[in-house]
């Protein structure tokens, strides 16, 4: 697979490292601010005046029943015309300019999956995630088989 041309952000939650095109990130919100004291963040949250759904995902990319308020951030993503947020423990720019993307082995490649490739970053593996496909996955019945968070 060709080296990536665009910049990437490394988004971590539930032990999973996702690599997302930085252009797809609309904003990064601090969960503490949104929590506003004692009320738990609802799955539908107003962020900067723009209403968008917020979800917590598990390491298996299943949608948790409730937003995980232990996460520090909400990353607001833009997928085509749809804007949505996912909670994250950490978000950082990938310092490597042109990471080498490796295709997933054929035996574990699923056509509907938003993950098609991975990058080795020192000791870590980060999975490249297409935001449009992630939004499609979040809205599919397949993503809601597990409970969590």
């Amino acid at each position: 697979m060709n080296a990536a041309a665009a910049g990437y952000a490394l988004i971590c939650f539930d032990g999973l490292n996702l690599l997302i095109d930085q252009h797809a990130i609309v904003s990064l919100e601090n969960m503490v601010t949104l929590r506003d004291g004692d009320d738990e963040v609802k799955a539908s949250e107003i962020i900067e005046g723009n209403a968008c759904e917020v979800h917590s995902l598990t390491a298996h990319l299943s949608v948790a029943n409730r937003v995980d308020t232990r996460c520090r951030y909400i990353v607001v993503l833009q997928a085509d015309k749809q804007r949505f947020g996912i909670t994250a423990d950490s978000v950082q720019s990938l310092l490597i300019q042109d990471p080498t993307l490796h295709s997933l082995p054929v035996c574990m490649n699923i056509s509907e999956s938003p993950i098609k490739a991975y990058v080795q970053i020192e000791e870590r593996i980060a999975f490249c995630c297409d935001v449009g496909a992630l939004w499609g996955h979040i809205n599919s019945s397949e993503s809601r088989h597990e409970c969590g968070a």
Partner: protein, 151 residues
């Protein structure tokens, strides 16, 4: 190692065995480092980090519709040449117990087990070992295609 050994036999679930060619074995890794791959099929749910490579980690039991009853704590790293381009590749088979080397001759050939329709897709031959039909895995088929899970 006995000079006559040409196969490696391993148990993939209670009392069930499969084999690969001895020349296909690269290394046995204890406590392999695995990274879960989201949405990957149950039988190959992880990448195994081996010698700075991330290689697919496969468990046979779920693939043929059986449960993995023992804890998988070993990775048998195997190597094969991709049929598509002749490139050397590596994969890992999850094991719960050590493998053993053995000699297999052509006169032990038999039919594949009938307990799973997956066998013809992932095994290229089979031999009789006491009262068990032991499939010999086709590693290219196992790692280089997306297989249907048997419910």
């Amino acid at each position: 190692m006995n000079a006559g050994h040409n196969a490696v036999l391993f148990e993939f679930t209670n009392g069930r065995h499969a084999a690969i060619g001895l020349h296909e074995v690269a290394e046995l890794v204890m406590s392999p480092r695995l990274v879960n791959v989201p949405l990957a099929p149950d039988y190959c749910h992880s990448l195994c980090i081996w010698q700075d490579r991330a290689i697919p980690f496969v468990e046979l039991a779920p693939l043929i519709g059986q449960r993995t009853l023992k804890k998988i704590s070993l990775a048998l790293v195997v190597t094969y040449f991709a049929q598509s381009n002749g490139e050397q590749r590596w994969g890992a088979l999850g094991l719960s117990t050590y493998f053993r080397m053995m000699s297999v001759s052509d006169d032990a050939a038999c039919l594949l087990p009938q307990d799973s329709p997956a066998w013809p897709s992932i095994a290229h031959s089979c031999f009789q070992l006491v009262d068990e039909n032991v499939p010999i895995l086709n590693l290219n088929a196992l790692f280089e295609q997306r297989l249907q899970l048997i419910p």
